[in-house]
């Protein structure tokens, strides 16, 4: 039985256990039909031209995790921002771990989607936001049909959240192969400020296939910083679908750090629905061995006087493959748009591959849109300069890599997080320097 058939037939069983109202139930039914019709995307689809899911889909995943996996805090402490007080929502194999989490209902909601879906007091919010901006394509629909657990964050008007919120997805792989489908819903109210860190981290080498969907709504003048850290083991694959809806004067930044995993696909979509929105999409990708990361971004400028900035840096070693498929759409009514897109790549080995497709689709005339894309290698002179000053080859390369990625790193606003990412990068490259220069 193929994974698709298995999922479709499992839905019937899943459906019978649902307790929620008919509104969400209807959305689920519709979503599973979409998935049943279209199945998993193949390389014949333009958007998936460079990423084949074939190898992932062959495995026999268990769809409903058994849970009760015990994880000791001391084993996973290093994956938290332990030197900082944060709200935490932690999932182990897709199941909420109350022991590791630190949620709140005091002045803001940092809790679980399962609670929001089932409790009547959240009904209005769910009806207003759930599945409103998530695209209705096959892979997102699959998540919608099975959406059960994930983070639910609701920041009320004028609230400045004093500490960052961490959403951490651990996978233990206690089962041979596991498929998890987290679903996050984040509503940031008018004039509210929040910083969110989302991390995917596998603890063992077992196969995990994650199909995650996050919907983020930034209301008027909201200010959102969102950091994604993807550091899975090499048998873990991730499809991360993020949809951001921005109202007027809102400011939204998403940083994606892709350092691990087998196949990682990031679908990051921004919709600017009001004037004077500002969107920033940045990413650093460092790959080795046979890793494969595909960044697929969309910024849809619907309203005038907005800005968007994209900056993706990629460093590819061994037989890794990096893909950047960035798209900027400017609607006819969206005049006075400034949209910038930058994609720089360095190939470290001959067997690495980069495929880039920076697209612009522009229907308004009074706009400034540009994109730049470069592919190259280390500057020999710069390497020589560093080495002539007694810095080892590996360290010199690491410094150059760090400098290359710095335009992304420098805009990380939480110093502790920045240090942590620096360390992750150092580990990844295999050097022991702090980059605290």
């Amino acid at each position: 039985m193929s994974l698709k058939e298995k999922l479709v037939s499992s839905y019937l069983a899943f459906e019978s256990h649902l307790e929620e109202d008919s509104h969400v139930h209807e959305i689920r039914n519709k979503a599973i039909r979409t998935f049943e019709e279209n199945g998993f995307p193949t390389i014949k689809e333009e958007a998936w031209k460079y990423t084949s899911l074939k190898s992932i889909l062959k495995k026999d995943y268990s769809i409903f995790p058994k849970g009760n996996t015990a994880v000791e805090f001391k084993d996973v402490r290093q994956y938290f921002l332990y030197d900082l007080d944060t709200y935490k929502i932690v999932f182990i194999d897709g199941i909420y771990s109350s022991f590791l989490s630190d949620t709140t209902h005091d002045g803001l909601d940092v809790c679980l989607l399962s609670a929001a879906l089932n409790k009547p007091k959240y009904k209005a919010v769910i009806e207003a936001y759930f599945n409103k901006i998530a695209s209705k394509n096959s892979i997102t629909s699959l998540n919608t049909a099975f959406a059960k657990e994930g983070a639910y964050i609701n920041i009320p008007k004028n609230k400045e959240v004093e500490k960052p919120i961490e959403i951490i997805n651990f996978s233990t792989g206690n089962e041979a192969a596991l498929m998890v489908q987290p679903r996050n819903l984040i509503v940031v109210g008018e004039n509210a400020h929040v910083q969110i860190i989302e991390r995917h981290q596998s603890l063992t080498n077992n196969a995990v296939f994650t199909n995650s969907v996050t919907e983020l709504f930034a209301e008027k003048r909201a200010f959102v910083d969102y950091y994604k850290i993807q550091n899975d083991h090499k048998n873990a694959s991730l499809i991360d679908n993020t949809f951001v809806n921005q109202e007027r004067d809102s400011n939204c930044n998403v940083h994606t750090f892709s350092l691990g995993g087998n196949i990682t696909r990031n679908n990051l979509n921004f919709y600017q629905n009001g004037e004077h929105c500002d969107s920033t999409l940045k990413g650093v990708t460092i790959l080795q061995e046979k890793q494969h990361v595909d960044h697929n971004t969309l910024v849809h400028h619907i309203s005038p006087n907005c800005e968007s900035h994209q900056d993706y840096k990629g460093l590819y070693a061994d037989e890794s493959t990096g893909i950047f498929n960035g798209k900027v759409v400017v609607d006819k009514e969206a005049q006075k748009i400034n949209a910038f897109q930058q994609n720089n790549n360095i190939l470290i080995n001959d067997n690495a591959t980069v495929n880039a497709k920076p697209q612009l689709e522009i229907f308004a005339d009074d706009v400034k849109c540009s994109h730049g894309c470069t592919i190259g290698q280390f500057d020999e002179d710069a390497l020589f300069y560093l080495r002539s000053r007694g810095i080892g080859k590996k360290e010199s390369e690491a410094l150059l890599m760090y400098a290359f990625a710095n335009t992304v790193l420098e805009t990380v606003k939480i110093p502790e997080l920045k240090r942590r990412i620096n360390k992750l990068i150092a580990n990844k490259i295999g050097v022991n320097i702090g980059f605290d220069i």
């Binding site: 006819k332 690495a352 495929n355 612009l360 308004a364 005339d365 540009s370 894309c373 470069t374």
Partner: protein
């Protein structure tokens, strides 16, 4: 004089009708509409082709029957009904002419109205013109001068008869019959086109030029061009198109193959001004062209195109950089107005070491048109030290048009250096203000800016063509280019 504003320009653009729309009444011999094996055989027979050629066509037709029309391009149009087209049409006066005087005066008049005076060109420009009116070559000039150098420049049907060894060796090697839907169709039914062979070490003394023209109602034109530059030779080839105004959509599916052997250089320039349809978007030519060149060692192929016409353009002149140190270049201006749609760009496939490619693409969209750049730069694993620079700029005039870029970059070698830049903008108010401030009126300022915008490409055109290109830009964007 009243102040000329951008709104006036927009209005001008909207009202601008196709200037060259007229219909020459020459009795044509036209095949019944439809396409099947018999028609393919009949075309081949009509052209008095040898058996191998007929078989080649039939093979292409077999392939075509199984293929589907591509629909990935960013264009919308009513799909042509391929059984509703007549696949062969030739002017009636069959015998070939030795001098211009023998040519049908009505036909000459057509060319005169197009501003292509054969006599003038013979005398002034030194251009040999192989005029193609509805698929049959009518006049070839300067043949003798070329023959002295050993250069073969004739219609492809003549080449099939007289130089079968060359045609057999190279036809379909760069664009295989099954390459795509339209190349398969073209391979099956092509009626005529040009053939050019430059022998080893010869530098072609003049620009070779062909004018294509669709003239008979309801006939698709399927041109086939084959240019071979032997080792160390050089040729500059010009191609220009104008088509009469007509409401029915016409299909143009040409195939151009360029082969540059070791150390050879081919410069291929196109000015395309097929009928773009009227301002309601009715009619106009469908231009679905496959153009590709193959570079051997140290060879260079340079494509320059000025695209102003056609209702739908779907065209990607490409270079396969097979030999080490070979160079591919692509310079393009695409102007779309009213309801025109253009999806054009290039492919640079780097296979050899130290290969270089340059892409400069300028898109100007006005009216309700859609203008897309779609390009591919691929660096294969063994192409060490490959270098590419791409720049695609779009200029938008008005609020109803669109500009799109779809660049694909695929790199499998770490020593490659790729740069890609794209910008989209309109004519800036500050730019116009700057000019105004220095006493340049708005109309002139716009002309200046558009000229400056396209200068990098216009500069690449040969002298003889630059004039015509300027003229076509003028027609497409009158009031903006001075």
């Amino acid at each position: 004089m009243a102040k000329f504003t951008e709104d006036d320009l927009k209005k001008d653009l909207k009202d601008k009708e196709y200037e060259y729309g007229f219909y020459t009444d020459i009795e044509s011999e036209t095949f019944p509409i439809g396409l099947d094996e018999d028609i393919v055989r009949a075309i081949s027979k009509k052209k008095e082709e040898p058996q191998w050629m007929t078989d080649w066509r039939l093979k292409a037709f077999e392939a075509w029957k199984e293929m589907k029309e591509p629909n990935w391009a960013n264009v919308n149009y009513d799909k042509p009904n391929f059984q509703d087209i007549s696949y062969y049409s030739a002017p009636n006066s069959k015998p070939k002419y030795n001098s211009i005087d023998e040519v049908d005066p009505e036909l000459l008049d057509t060319f005169n109205r197009l501003g292509i005076s054969l006599d003038e060109q013979k005398k002034l420009a030194g251009v040999a013109v192989d005029i193609v009116v509805d698929s049959v070559s009518v006049a070839t000039t300067f043949k003798k001068t070329l023959a002295e150098k050993g250069i073969i420049f004739c219609s492809i049907s003549e080449a099939i008869k007289e130089h079968p060894e060359l045609v057999k060796k190279y036809l379909g090697t760069v664009v295989p019959q099954r390459d795509n839907f339209y190349s398969a169709l073209n391979s099956a039914v092509f009626s005529d086109g040009s053939f050019c062979y430059i022998p080893k070490g010869v530098r072609c003394p003049m620009e070779l030029s062909t004018y294509f023209r669709i003239n008979q109602a309801g006939t698709g034109q399927f041109e086939r061009t084959l240019v071979i530059a032997d080792q160390g030779s050089y040729v500059s080839y010009l191609e220009g198109c104008t088509a009469p105004s007509r409401d029915e959509n016409q299909l143009h599916a040409a195939v151009v193959e360029l082969i540059a052997l070791d150390d050879a250089e081919i410069k291929y320039s196109t000015v395309q001004n097929w009928y773009p349809g009227n301002k309601e978007g009715k009619g106009g030519v469908y231009n679905f062209v496959t153009k590709r060149g193959l570079c051997e060692k140290n060879a260079k192929i340079s494509w320059t195109q000025v695209e102003t016409g056609s209702a739908v353009t779907w065209k990607y002149p490409s270079c396969i950089l097979k030999g080490d140190n070979s160079i591919g270049e692509f310079y393009s201006i695409a102007v779309t107005n009213n309801f025109q749609q253009a999806d054009t760009g290039t492919k640079m496939i780097h296979l050899g070491k130290n290969t270089k490619s340059t892409i400069i693409s300028k898109g100007i969209s006005a009216g309700k048109s859609q203008n897309s750049y779609r390009g591919l730069v691929r660096i294969n694993k063994n192409a060490t030290n490959a270098r590419n620079f791409s720049q695609c700029d779009s200029l938008l005039m008005g609020n109803d048009c669109g500009a799109h870029t779809f660049p694909y970059i695929e790199v499998k070698n770490k020593s490659a250096q790729i740069e890609h830049e794209a910008t989209t903008s309109k004519i800036g108010e500050d730019q116009i203000f700057y000019c105004n401030q220095r006493g340049i009126e708005t109309e002139k300022a716009i002309a200046l800016i558009v000229n400056g915008f396209s200068k990098e490409v216009l500069n690449k055109l040969p002298m003889e063509f630059a004039v015509e290109a300027q003229k076509l830009l003028e027609i497409s964007l009158e009031g903006s280019v001075g």
